[in-house]
Amino acid sequence: MEPKDDNISAMCKPAVGEAGKTGDWRDATPVIDHAKCIASVKNRPACYLCWLYCPEGIVTAGIPIEINLDYCKGCGICAEECPAKAITMVIPEEANR
């Protein structure tokens, strides 16, 4: 039997992926140049402005930083805010055709 939603009002539990994999909304994809990223270059927790500004909360502030492309909508704010210009927004070739 299909698990059935018997709720009479709309609701959801807060969970990763509750609204589906929103990464498929993306046109431009952030590509990180770790040779420029301050955290990677200094090899210690530093800068992390991309993590701070990401409206989706999908940047992991590690060494190196990681961006979860399952949920990145491609807004480009991380690239805009990066003081080292380490993030480039790349539009896949097929999108240009």
Partner: protein, 402 residues
């Protein structure tokens, strides 16, 4: 034990809410509803009613307070009129969509422009499609009883209920009202059990963005799409008829007063014309029916008590063999006709009931409607129907020449 007091409709409404032990009351004053919540505010201040009284800056906020409080499991009450109700409009949809058993007294008043503080039913009729159950009361006793019944209905079907009654005609007119025993009311009305519990241990988003299609959530459960939720609300309102009728009957068994369920009938036996109306104008119509019967015209009255859900089957049954129907109502669906008349005609379509329906718009903005005027209108309509008139839309006691 019977406790009869002389009171206004507004005191009756407040007394009903008090007997239901409402826990949160929020209101913004507007004539003619003001004294309902003013009375409750006094009780709260004196400690006679243990409730939170939340003062806010607008009726829109009133309904948001009601929605929040009802969501976390409180029994909530408010009242308003006219522009106050219109200002709530968006949140009325939100309350119904959230399936919250909020009870609101709408003390019916005309809508501007231009300003009027006086009675008609344009305000609540304009909220017809918000998903609220609407009850129209004919006297102060019915107001008190209907507030109690409204909580019982709302908390069973999880739909909000609007108890509507005419401003000044009932709200500020004193009548004897039998006040039910508080303990008996408690037995009639079990505690409110919310359909969703908001708790820090089990956090959830209420009313998130919902998509047109059904969709699996993160746990793999197939969740409704928007349209499925709308169907559930429509299904609940359609299904509430039985609950409304049963509630009314059980109330009658316990307290000895039967207000008729979906609609009530007065002297309908062997009738040649049925006067149909909602609220105090229907009470006036019973006097008109008496006068007409004295004059040898077999007139009766159908009082529509519940307007949403519409008493489709009851209307068909009531009008099955009637030769003429005359509808008086205190609202106008501009560019068409009275809302009640239109709904009655629609419910008769395809049933083989082919009675002429005459529609009178009456008493807008507090213009007096007297039984004598209703009698004259019935005479005029019966004469017109006898010479072949099927439909008539006209305005009672109003200059209708441009």
């Amino acid at each position: 034990m019977s406790d009869v007091q002389i009171m206004t409709g507004n005191t009756a409404a407040a007394t009903g809410a008090k007997l239901c032990k409402v826990q949160v009351v929020s209101a913004y004053p507007i004539t003619p509803s003001t004294s309902v919540t003013e009375t409750i505010a006094n009780w709260v201040e004196k400690g006679e009613l243990k409730a939170e009284y939340v003062r806010v800056e607008s009726e829109h906020s009133v309904m948001t307070v009601c929605i929040s409080a009802s969501t976390v499991g409180a029994r909530v009450f408010t009242s308003t009129s006219s522009h106050g109700l219109l200002y709530m409009h968006e949140q009325l949809h939100w309350a119904a969509g959230s399936r919250l058993p909020i009870v609101l007294c709408c003390i019916n008043r005309g809508v501007g422009a231009p300003w009027s503080i006086f009675n008609d039913q344009q305000d609540s009729i304009a909220q017809r499609d918000t998903g609220w159950i609407q009850i129209y009361c004919r006297d102060n006793q019915e107001i008190l009883d209907s507030v109690i019944q409204a909580y019982r209905i709302a908390e069973q079907v999880y739909c909000p209920v609007m108890v509507c009654y005419d401003g000044f005609v009932l709200s500020h007119t004193m009548m004897p009202v039998d006040i039910p025993d508080a303990e008996q009311v408690c037995r009639f009305l079990p505690p409110y059990k919310p359909h969703t519990i908001l708790s820090p241990e089990d956090p959830r988003n209420i009313n998130p963005v919902i998509f047109p299609w059904q969709r699996r959530d993160a746990e793999g459960i197939l969740r409704d799409g928007y349209m499925d939720m709308r169907w559930k609300l429509q299904h609940a309102l359609e299904g509430s008829r039985e609950v409304i009728v049963n509630t009314c009957r059980e109330y009658a068994e316990l307290f000895g007063r039967d207000h008729g369920g979906m609609l009530w009938k007065y002297r309908t036996d062997n009738a040649e014309v049925l006067i149909t109306a909602m609220g105090s104008i229907a009470t006036e119509a019973t006097m008109a029916a008496d006068i007409l019967r004295e004059k040898g015209i077999r007139a009766g009255v159908i009082g529509v008590r519940v307007y949403r859900p519409f008493p489709r089957e009851e209307i068909r049954e009531a009008f099955r063999t009637i030769p003429a129907i005359v509808v008086f109502e205190k609202n106008i669906s501009y560019g068409y006709e009275g809302a009640l008349s239109a709904d009655i005609k629609a419910s008769l379509y395809g049933t083989g009931i082919d009675a002429p329906v005459h529609n009178y718009i009456a008493g807008l903005g507090g213009r007096d409607v007297k039984a004598r005027e209703l009698v004259e209108a019935i005479h005029a309509s019966l004469a017109a129907i006898a010479s072949g008139s099927r439909e008539r839309q006209t305005w009672l006691n109003c200059v209708t020449e441009s």
